[in-house]
Protein backbone atom coordinates (compact mmCIF):
# COMPACT_ATOMS: atom_id res chain seq x y z
CA UNK A 1 0.00 0.00 0.00
CA UNK A 2 1.45 3.36 -1.08
CA UNK A 3 1.75 6.00 1.62
CA UNK A 4 2.69 9.63 1.34
CA UNK A 5 3.88 12.58 3.35
CA UNK A 6 4.55 16.13 2.30
CA UNK A 7 8.08 17.43 2.58
CA UNK A 8 6.72 19.98 5.00
CA UNK A 9 5.66 17.26 7.39
CA UNK A 10 8.82 15.25 7.01
CA UNK A 11 10.59 16.82 10.00
CA UNK A 12 7.61 15.87 12.14
CA UNK A 13 7.87 12.27 11.00
CA UNK A 14 11.60 12.32 11.61
CA UNK A 15 11.10 13.71 15.09
CA UNK A 16 8.58 10.98 15.85
CA UNK A 17 10.91 8.27 14.65
CA UNK A 18 13.89 9.70 16.46
CA UNK A 19 11.97 9.75 19.71
CA UNK A 20 11.95 5.98 19.88
CA UNK A 21 14.90 4.96 17.78
CA UNK A 22 18.06 6.27 16.20
CA UNK A 23 17.44 7.79 12.81
CA UNK A 24 20.24 7.84 10.30
CA UNK A 25 19.92 9.97 7.19
CA UNK A 26 22.04 11.90 4.66
CA UNK A 27 23.17 14.95 6.54
CA UNK A 28 25.35 17.79 5.42
CA UNK A 29 28.27 18.73 7.60
CA UNK A 30 31.03 21.14 6.61
CA UNK A 31 29.98 21.03 2.97
CA UNK A 32 29.84 17.25 2.61
CA UNK A 33 26.88 14.90 2.77
CA UNK A 34 27.25 11.68 4.70
CA UNK A 35 24.93 9.38 6.58
CA UNK A 36 24.72 10.49 10.16
CA UNK A 37 22.42 10.53 13.15
CA UNK A 38 19.57 12.91 12.47
CA UNK A 39 18.69 15.53 15.07
CA UNK A 40 16.29 18.42 14.62
CA UNK A 41 19.33 20.69 14.03
CA UNK A 42 20.71 18.56 11.22
CA UNK A 43 20.80 19.71 7.62
CA UNK A 44 18.92 16.91 5.85
CA UNK A 45 20.01 16.38 2.26
CA UNK A 46 17.69 13.79 0.73
CA UNK A 47 18.40 15.45 -2.61
CA UNK A 48 22.06 14.49 -2.50
CA UNK A 49 22.47 11.55 -4.84
CA UNK A 50 25.67 10.17 -3.42
CA UNK A 51 26.87 10.56 0.11
CA UNK A 52 30.66 10.59 0.28
CA UNK A 53 30.76 7.42 2.32
CA UNK A 54 28.23 4.77 1.43
CA UNK A 55 25.44 3.67 3.73
CA UNK A 56 27.26 0.53 4.78
CA UNK A 57 28.57 2.23 7.90
CA UNK A 58 25.15 1.89 9.47
CA UNK A 59 25.65 -1.86 9.64
CA UNK A 60 29.39 -2.08 9.45
CA UNK A 61 30.84 1.00 11.14
CA UNK A 62 34.33 2.20 10.31
CA UNK A 63 35.44 1.67 13.89
CA UNK A 64 33.79 -0.72 16.30
CA UNK A 65 34.85 -2.03 19.70
CA UNK A 66 34.88 -5.77 20.01
CA UNK A 67 36.45 -6.58 23.33
CA UNK A 68 38.06 -4.96 26.35
CA UNK A 69 40.90 -6.33 28.45
CA UNK A 70 41.96 -4.96 31.75
CA UNK A 71 44.87 -5.88 33.92
CA UNK A 72 43.99 -6.01 37.56
CA UNK A 73 46.96 -6.76 39.74
CA UNK A 74 48.27 -9.64 37.73
CA UNK A 75 45.02 -11.02 36.37
CA UNK A 76 43.22 -10.03 33.20
CA UNK A 77 39.52 -9.11 33.03
CA UNK A 78 37.92 -9.68 29.64
CA UNK A 79 34.77 -7.85 28.61
CA UNK A 80 33.38 -8.53 25.14
CA UNK A 81 31.64 -5.48 23.69
CA UNK A 82 27.87 -5.64 23.65
CA UNK A 83 25.95 -6.11 20.43
CA UNK A 84 23.32 -3.61 19.43
CA UNK A 85 19.93 -4.16 21.07
CA UNK A 86 18.06 -1.06 19.97
CA UNK A 87 16.17 -0.45 16.75
CA UNK A 88 17.25 2.16 14.26
CA UNK A 89 16.15 3.47 10.91
CA UNK A 90 18.37 4.39 8.01
CA UNK A 91 16.55 6.74 5.70
CA UNK A 92 17.35 7.72 2.15
CA UNK A 93 19.46 4.79 1.03
CA UNK A 94 19.86 4.65 -2.75
CA UNK A 95 19.35 1.55 -4.80
CA UNK A 96 23.03 0.81 -5.16
CA UNK A 97 23.74 1.04 -1.45
CA UNK A 98 20.65 -1.02 -0.72
CA UNK A 99 22.00 -3.78 -2.94
CA UNK A 100 25.35 -3.54 -1.17
CA UNK A 101 23.69 -4.68 2.06
CA UNK A 102 22.79 -7.94 0.36
CA UNK A 103 26.38 -8.39 -0.68
CA UNK A 104 27.63 -7.64 2.81
CA UNK A 105 25.10 -10.13 4.20
CA UNK A 106 26.78 -12.82 2.17
CA UNK A 107 30.00 -12.11 3.99
CA UNK A 108 28.95 -11.26 7.50
CA UNK A 109 25.90 -13.47 7.86
CA UNK A 110 27.51 -16.54 6.39
CA UNK A 111 28.87 -18.98 8.90
CA UNK A 112 30.44 -17.91 11.23
CA UNK A 113 27.90 -15.15 11.66
CA UNK A 114 29.30 -11.80 12.72
CA UNK A 115 27.23 -10.97 15.81
CA UNK A 116 27.74 -7.22 15.59
CA UNK A 117 26.67 -7.02 11.98
CA UNK A 118 23.81 -9.45 12.48
CA UNK A 119 22.43 -7.43 15.39
CA UNK A 120 22.52 -4.24 13.36
CA UNK A 121 20.80 -5.87 10.42
CA UNK A 122 18.14 -7.25 12.76
CA UNK A 123 17.44 -3.93 14.39
CA UNK A 124 17.82 -1.71 11.35
CA UNK A 125 14.97 -0.63 9.09
CA UNK A 126 16.12 0.47 5.64
CA UNK A 127 14.20 3.17 3.84
CA UNK A 128 15.43 3.49 0.29
CA UNK A 129 14.98 6.35 -2.08
CA UNK A 130 14.62 6.22 -5.84
CA UNK A 131 17.17 8.26 -7.82
CA UNK A 132 15.39 11.08 -9.58
CA UNK A 133 18.55 12.38 -11.20
CA UNK A 134 21.13 9.67 -11.81
CA UNK A 135 24.53 10.97 -12.83
CA UNK A 136 27.14 10.19 -15.43
CA UNK A 137 29.17 8.22 -12.93
CA UNK A 138 26.28 5.86 -12.15
CA UNK A 139 26.42 2.39 -13.68
CA UNK A 140 24.19 0.35 -11.39
CA UNK A 141 22.15 -0.80 -14.37
CA UNK A 142 24.99 -3.12 -15.30
CA UNK A 143 24.37 -5.07 -12.12
CA UNK A 144 20.64 -5.43 -12.50
CA UNK A 145 19.81 -2.67 -10.08
CA UNK A 146 16.78 -0.53 -10.69
CA UNK A 147 17.40 2.95 -9.36
CA UNK A 148 13.77 3.77 -10.09
CA UNK A 149 12.50 1.15 -7.72
CA UNK A 150 15.04 0.23 -5.08
CA UNK A 151 14.59 -2.54 -2.55
CA UNK A 152 14.73 -2.16 1.24
CA UNK A 153 12.13 -2.34 4.00
CA UNK A 154 10.51 0.77 2.64
CA UNK A 155 10.96 2.31 -0.80
CA UNK A 156 10.46 6.02 -1.18
CA UNK A 157 10.06 8.39 -4.12
CA UNK A 158 10.42 12.14 -4.08
CA UNK A 159 7.93 13.98 -6.22
CA UNK A 160 8.00 17.77 -6.14
CA UNK A 161 6.70 18.40 -2.60
CA UNK A 162 5.62 14.92 -1.60
CA UNK A 163 7.42 11.84 -0.52
CA UNK A 164 5.74 8.58 -1.51
CA UNK A 165 6.55 5.52 0.49
CA UNK A 166 5.85 1.85 0.01
CA UNK A 167 6.53 -0.76 2.66
CA UNK A 168 8.18 -3.91 1.37
CA UNK A 169 8.54 -5.78 4.66
CA UNK A 170 6.87 -6.03 8.03
CA UNK A 171 9.55 -3.82 9.54
CA UNK A 172 8.80 -1.29 6.86
CA UNK A 173 5.09 -1.61 7.40
CA UNK A 174 5.51 -0.90 11.08
CA UNK A 175 7.40 2.25 10.33
CA UNK A 176 5.03 3.90 7.88
CA UNK A 177 1.63 2.37 8.57
CA UNK A 178 0.40 5.49 10.32
CA UNK A 179 1.01 7.68 7.29
CA UNK A 180 -1.67 8.90 4.95
CA UNK A 181 -2.40 6.70 1.94
CA UNK A 182 -0.86 7.82 -1.29
CA UNK A 183 -1.56 7.49 -5.00
CA UNK A 184 0.26 5.05 -7.27
CA UNK A 185 0.16 7.19 -10.40
CA UNK A 186 2.76 9.86 -9.56
CA UNK A 187 5.15 7.10 -8.55
CA UNK A 188 4.60 5.28 -11.81
CA UNK A 189 5.34 8.54 -13.66
CA UNK A 190 8.51 9.02 -11.68
CA UNK A 191 9.64 5.46 -12.36
CA UNK A 192 9.05 6.02 -16.01
CA UNK A 193 11.00 9.28 -16.20
CA UNK A 194 13.85 7.85 -14.15
CA UNK A 195 13.88 4.83 -16.42
CA UNK A 196 14.29 7.12 -19.41
CA UNK A 197 17.34 8.78 -17.91
CA UNK A 198 18.81 5.49 -16.81
CA UNK A 199 18.77 4.35 -20.40
CA UNK A 200 20.90 7.31 -21.40
CA UNK A 201 23.66 6.81 -18.82
CA UNK A 202 27.03 6.74 -20.58
CA UNK A 203 28.35 3.75 -18.66
CA UNK A 204 25.31 1.54 -19.16
CA UNK A 205 26.81 -1.04 -21.40
CA UNK A 206 29.83 -2.40 -19.62
CA UNK A 207 30.75 -5.77 -20.98
CA UNK A 208 31.37 -8.07 -18.03
CA UNK A 209 31.86 -11.14 -20.14
CA UNK A 210 34.78 -13.18 -18.92
CA UNK A 211 34.77 -11.80 -15.38
CA UNK A 212 34.10 -15.09 -13.71
CA UNK A 213 35.80 -17.98 -12.00
CA UNK A 214 36.44 -19.73 -15.28
CA UNK A 215 38.75 -16.98 -16.46
CA UNK A 216 40.43 -16.44 -13.13
CA UNK A 217 44.01 -17.10 -14.13
CA UNK A 218 43.62 -15.33 -17.42
CA UNK A 219 42.50 -12.18 -15.66
CA UNK A 220 45.03 -12.61 -12.89
CA UNK A 221 47.92 -12.83 -15.28
CA UNK A 222 46.80 -10.04 -17.57
CA UNK A 223 49.84 -7.81 -18.26
CA UNK A 224 47.65 -4.69 -18.24
CA UNK A 225 47.48 -4.59 -14.44
CA UNK A 226 50.81 -2.87 -14.15
CA UNK A 227 49.88 0.10 -16.29
CA UNK A 228 46.40 0.27 -14.76
CA UNK A 229 47.90 0.47 -11.30
CA UNK A 230 50.74 2.82 -12.13
CA UNK A 231 48.91 5.93 -11.09
CA UNK A 232 47.44 4.37 -7.96
CA UNK A 233 48.60 6.26 -4.86
CA UNK A 234 47.76 3.40 -2.56
CA UNK A 235 45.34 5.46 -0.55
CA UNK A 236 42.11 3.91 0.68
CA UNK A 237 39.67 6.38 -0.78
CA UNK A 238 38.03 3.95 -3.19
CA UNK A 239 37.64 1.27 -0.55
CA UNK A 240 36.39 3.60 2.13
CA UNK A 241 33.73 5.21 -0.06
CA UNK A 242 32.81 1.83 -1.57
CA UNK A 243 29.54 0.29 -0.38
CA UNK A 244 30.75 -3.26 -0.91
CA UNK A 245 34.27 -3.28 0.48
CA UNK A 246 34.11 -5.25 3.66
CA UNK A 247 37.65 -5.82 4.84
CA UNK A 248 38.55 -4.88 8.35
CA UNK A 249 41.57 -4.98 10.59
CA UNK A 250 41.63 -5.75 14.29
CA UNK A 251 43.68 -3.45 16.47
CA UNK A 252 44.41 -2.91 20.13
CA UNK A 253 44.56 0.38 21.91
CA UNK A 254 46.30 0.52 25.26
CA UNK A 255 44.35 3.06 27.25
CA UNK A 256 46.53 2.66 30.31
CA UNK A 257 44.45 2.51 33.46
CA UNK A 258 41.37 1.87 31.34
CA UNK A 259 42.80 -1.32 29.95
CA UNK A 260 43.19 -2.42 26.41
CA UNK A 261 40.49 -1.83 23.89
CA UNK A 262 40.36 -4.20 20.95
CA UNK A 263 38.49 -2.75 18.06
CA UNK A 264 38.04 -3.41 14.42
CA UNK A 265 38.27 -0.82 11.74
CA UNK A 266 37.91 -0.72 7.99
CA UNK A 267 40.99 -1.85 6.20
CA UNK A 268 41.89 -1.30 2.61
CA UNK A 269 43.53 -3.76 0.29
CA UNK A 270 45.22 -0.71 -1.20
CA UNK A 271 47.23 -0.15 1.97
CA UNK A 272 50.76 -1.44 2.11
CA UNK A 273 50.11 -3.09 5.46
CA UNK A 274 46.97 -4.93 4.31
CA UNK A 275 47.06 -8.51 5.60
CA UNK A 276 50.52 -7.87 6.87
CA UNK A 277 51.93 -10.95 8.53
CA UNK A 278 54.93 -11.63 10.66
CA UNK A 279 57.00 -12.57 7.67
CA UNK A 280 55.95 -9.46 5.80
CA UNK A 281 53.32 -8.89 3.19
CA UNK A 282 52.30 -11.26 0.43
CA UNK A 283 51.44 -8.43 -1.93
CA UNK A 284 54.52 -6.27 -1.81
CA UNK A 285 53.76 -4.07 -4.84
CA UNK A 286 50.93 -1.66 -5.41
CA UNK A 287 50.14 -3.49 -8.64
CA UNK A 288 49.43 -6.66 -6.71
CA UNK A 289 47.33 -4.83 -4.17
CA UNK A 290 45.45 -3.07 -6.92
CA UNK A 291 44.83 -6.32 -8.73
CA UNK A 292 43.56 -7.87 -5.51
CA UNK A 293 40.86 -5.28 -5.16
CA UNK A 294 39.42 -5.73 -8.61
CA UNK A 295 39.98 -9.46 -8.82
CA UNK A 296 37.98 -9.72 -5.63
CA UNK A 297 35.13 -7.59 -6.84
CA UNK A 298 34.94 -8.92 -10.37
CA UNK A 299 36.26 -12.46 -10.22
CA UNK A 300 36.68 -14.06 -6.80
CA UNK A 301 33.41 -12.83 -5.38
CA UNK A 302 31.20 -13.81 -8.33
CA UNK A 303 33.01 -17.13 -8.55
CA UNK A 304 31.83 -17.91 -5.05
CA UNK A 305 28.45 -16.19 -5.17
CA UNK A 306 26.64 -17.41 -8.22
CA UNK A 307 28.05 -14.76 -10.46
CA UNK A 308 27.12 -11.88 -8.19
CA UNK A 309 29.63 -9.05 -8.64
CA UNK A 310 30.89 -7.25 -5.60
CA UNK A 311 30.18 -3.92 -7.23
CA UNK A 312 26.88 -2.09 -7.28
CA UNK A 313 27.83 0.62 -9.77
CA UNK A 314 27.41 3.53 -7.37
CA UNK A 315 30.27 5.34 -9.07
CA UNK A 316 31.73 6.82 -5.89
CA UNK A 317 35.21 5.61 -6.81
CA UNK A 318 34.88 7.39 -10.16
CA UNK A 319 34.19 10.64 -8.39
CA UNK A 320 36.54 10.34 -5.46
CA UNK A 321 39.74 8.74 -6.67
CA UNK A 322 42.32 11.54 -6.61
CA UNK A 323 43.89 10.12 -9.76
CA UNK A 324 40.72 8.95 -11.56
CA UNK A 325 41.54 5.27 -11.46
CA UNK A 326 38.52 3.04 -10.96
CA UNK A 327 36.61 -0.13 -11.66
CA UNK A 328 35.27 1.08 -15.00
CA UNK A 329 38.82 1.49 -16.30
CA UNK A 330 39.53 -2.03 -15.19
CA UNK A 331 36.41 -3.56 -16.70
CA UNK A 332 37.05 -1.81 -19.98
CA UNK A 333 40.74 -2.59 -20.12
CA UNK A 334 40.58 -6.20 -19.13
CA UNK A 335 37.18 -7.05 -20.45
CA UNK A 336 36.11 -8.28 -23.84
CA UNK A 337 36.05 -5.44 -26.34
CA UNK A 338 32.82 -4.82 -28.19
CA UNK A 339 34.43 -5.50 -31.54
CA UNK A 340 36.27 -8.63 -30.41
Amino acid sequence: MMKKISFQDLPRLFREISETQTLIAPIEKCGQVNFGVWTPDSTLRLDALKTVKSAKGAFFPQVEDIVHFRMKDKTIDIHPAEVLTEDFVIFGVRACDARSFELLDRVFLADPVDPFYAARRKHGTVVTLACNQPEETCFCTNFGIDAADPCGDVTAWMDRDTLYLRANTEKGEALISRLENGEEAPVEDLKKSIGEILKKLPLNDLNLTGFDGDHLMEKFNDPKWEELARGCLGCGTCTFVCPTCQCYDVRDFDAGENGIQRYRCWDSCMFSDFTLMAHGTNRPTQTERFRQRFMHKLVYFPAKNEGLYSCVGCGRCLEKCPQSIHIVNVIKSLGVKEDD
Binding site: G256, E257, N258
Partner: protein, 145 residues
Protein backbone atom coordinates in the same frame (compact mmCIF):
# COMPACT_ATOMS: atom_id res chain seq x y z
CA UNK B 1 45.74 6.78 48.00
CA UNK B 2 44.25 9.57 45.97
CA UNK B 3 41.43 10.62 48.21
CA UNK B 4 38.74 12.91 46.91
CA UNK B 5 40.37 16.20 46.32
CA UNK B 6 39.75 19.00 43.95
CA UNK B 7 41.01 18.69 40.42
CA UNK B 8 44.64 19.42 39.86
CA UNK B 9 46.27 19.45 36.46
CA UNK B 10 48.61 16.75 35.30
CA UNK B 11 51.82 18.31 34.06
CA UNK B 12 54.58 16.63 32.09
CA UNK B 13 57.91 18.40 32.13
CA UNK B 14 60.53 17.29 29.64
CA UNK B 15 63.93 18.32 30.94
CA UNK B 16 67.23 18.17 29.18
CA UNK B 17 69.77 16.12 31.05
CA UNK B 18 72.49 18.72 31.28
CA UNK B 19 70.87 21.91 32.44
CA UNK B 20 67.23 21.67 33.34
CA UNK B 21 67.21 18.22 34.88
CA UNK B 22 70.12 19.38 37.02
CA UNK B 23 68.20 22.58 37.71
CA UNK B 24 65.28 20.47 38.91
CA UNK B 25 67.66 18.51 41.11
CA UNK B 26 68.94 21.77 42.51
CA UNK B 27 65.40 22.88 43.24
CA UNK B 28 65.11 19.61 45.16
CA UNK B 29 68.34 20.05 47.10
CA UNK B 30 67.21 23.57 47.91
CA UNK B 31 63.89 22.12 49.18
CA UNK B 32 62.00 24.49 46.92
CA UNK B 33 58.38 23.64 46.66
CA UNK B 34 56.43 23.06 43.53
CA UNK B 35 53.28 21.00 43.02
CA UNK B 36 53.49 17.22 42.99
CA UNK B 37 51.49 17.02 39.80
CA UNK B 38 54.57 18.07 37.86
CA UNK B 39 56.34 14.93 36.65
CA UNK B 40 59.70 15.14 34.97
CA UNK B 41 60.90 13.07 32.04
CA UNK B 42 64.61 13.18 31.38
CA UNK B 43 65.71 13.61 27.79
CA UNK B 44 69.29 14.11 26.65
CA UNK B 45 68.65 17.48 25.07
CA UNK B 46 65.69 19.72 24.40
CA UNK B 47 66.12 18.85 20.73
CA UNK B 48 65.13 15.27 21.57
CA UNK B 49 61.56 16.38 22.21
CA UNK B 50 59.46 15.04 19.40
CA UNK B 51 56.15 16.83 18.90
CA UNK B 52 54.69 13.35 18.99
CA UNK B 53 55.59 13.14 22.70
CA UNK B 54 53.77 16.37 23.41
CA UNK B 55 50.62 15.14 21.72
CA UNK B 56 50.98 11.74 23.35
CA UNK B 57 51.04 13.38 26.75
CA UNK B 58 47.88 15.31 25.98
CA UNK B 59 46.25 12.17 24.64
CA UNK B 60 47.00 10.21 27.77
CA UNK B 61 45.64 12.83 30.09
CA UNK B 62 48.22 15.56 30.57
CA UNK B 63 46.79 19.04 30.98
CA UNK B 64 50.01 20.87 30.30
CA UNK B 65 53.37 20.08 28.74
CA UNK B 66 56.51 22.07 29.37
CA UNK B 67 59.94 21.70 27.85
CA UNK B 68 62.97 22.88 29.76
CA UNK B 69 66.42 23.06 28.23
CA UNK B 70 69.71 24.86 28.48
CA UNK B 71 69.70 28.55 27.75
CA UNK B 72 70.34 29.32 24.09
CA UNK B 73 74.09 29.32 23.65
CA UNK B 74 74.64 26.92 26.54
CA UNK B 75 73.50 23.69 24.92
CA UNK B 76 75.70 20.78 25.87
CA UNK B 77 75.51 19.76 22.23
CA UNK B 78 76.01 23.39 21.21
CA UNK B 79 73.00 23.71 18.89
CA UNK B 80 70.23 21.44 20.16
CA UNK B 81 68.11 24.03 21.86
CA UNK B 82 68.17 26.27 18.81
CA UNK B 83 66.45 23.55 16.82
CA UNK B 84 64.10 22.83 19.69
CA UNK B 85 63.20 26.50 19.82
CA UNK B 86 62.10 26.60 16.20
CA UNK B 87 60.34 23.27 16.35
CA UNK B 88 58.33 24.13 19.41
CA UNK B 89 57.47 27.57 18.09
CA UNK B 90 56.01 26.04 14.96
CA UNK B 91 54.24 23.29 16.87
CA UNK B 92 52.76 25.61 19.48
CA UNK B 93 51.57 27.96 16.80
CA UNK B 94 49.93 25.10 14.94
CA UNK B 95 48.21 23.90 18.11
CA UNK B 96 47.04 27.44 18.71
CA UNK B 97 45.76 27.54 15.15
CA UNK B 98 43.71 24.45 15.89
CA UNK B 99 42.19 26.14 18.87
CA UNK B 100 44.20 24.47 21.62
CA UNK B 101 44.76 26.81 24.56
CA UNK B 102 48.10 28.57 24.28
CA UNK B 103 48.86 28.24 27.97
CA UNK B 104 49.03 24.46 27.89
CA UNK B 105 52.40 24.35 26.24
CA UNK B 106 55.51 26.19 27.24
CA UNK B 107 59.24 26.25 26.71
CA UNK B 108 61.48 27.60 29.43
CA UNK B 109 65.28 27.69 29.56
CA UNK B 110 66.55 26.65 32.96
CA UNK B 111 70.23 26.28 33.71
CA UNK B 112 71.74 23.83 36.17
CA UNK B 113 72.20 26.72 38.57
CA UNK B 114 68.63 27.91 38.36
CA UNK B 115 66.90 25.69 40.89
CA UNK B 116 64.82 28.61 42.04
CA UNK B 117 63.82 29.43 38.51
CA UNK B 118 62.82 25.84 37.93
CA UNK B 119 60.55 25.82 40.96
CA UNK B 120 59.13 29.24 40.12
CA UNK B 121 58.52 28.20 36.53
CA UNK B 122 56.70 25.07 37.58
CA UNK B 123 54.59 26.94 40.11
CA UNK B 124 53.66 29.47 37.50
CA UNK B 125 52.94 26.88 34.84
CA UNK B 126 50.75 24.85 37.18
CA UNK B 127 48.89 28.04 38.05
CA UNK B 128 48.34 28.86 34.38
CA UNK B 129 47.16 25.38 33.52
CA UNK B 130 44.94 25.21 36.61
CA UNK B 131 43.22 28.34 35.43
CA UNK B 132 42.74 26.81 32.00
CA UNK B 133 41.14 23.77 33.57
CA UNK B 134 41.04 20.27 32.29
CA UNK B 135 42.43 19.49 28.86
CA UNK B 136 39.32 18.58 26.95
CA UNK B 137 40.34 19.46 23.43
CA UNK B 138 43.31 17.19 22.98
CA UNK B 139 42.44 14.29 25.23
CA UNK B 140 41.48 10.80 24.21
CA UNK B 141 38.17 9.73 25.72
CA UNK B 142 39.41 6.18 25.99
CA UNK B 143 42.10 7.29 28.41
CA UNK B 144 39.81 9.30 30.67
CA UNK B 145 39.27 7.91 34.10
Amino acid sequence: MSVNKEWTPNIVAFCCNWCSYAGADLAGSGRMNYPANVKIIRIPCSCRLNPMFVLRAFQRGADGVILCGCHPGDCHYSTGNYYARRRMTVLFSLLDFMGIERGRTRVEWVSAAEGAKFAATMNDFVKTVTELGENKKLGDLRCKK
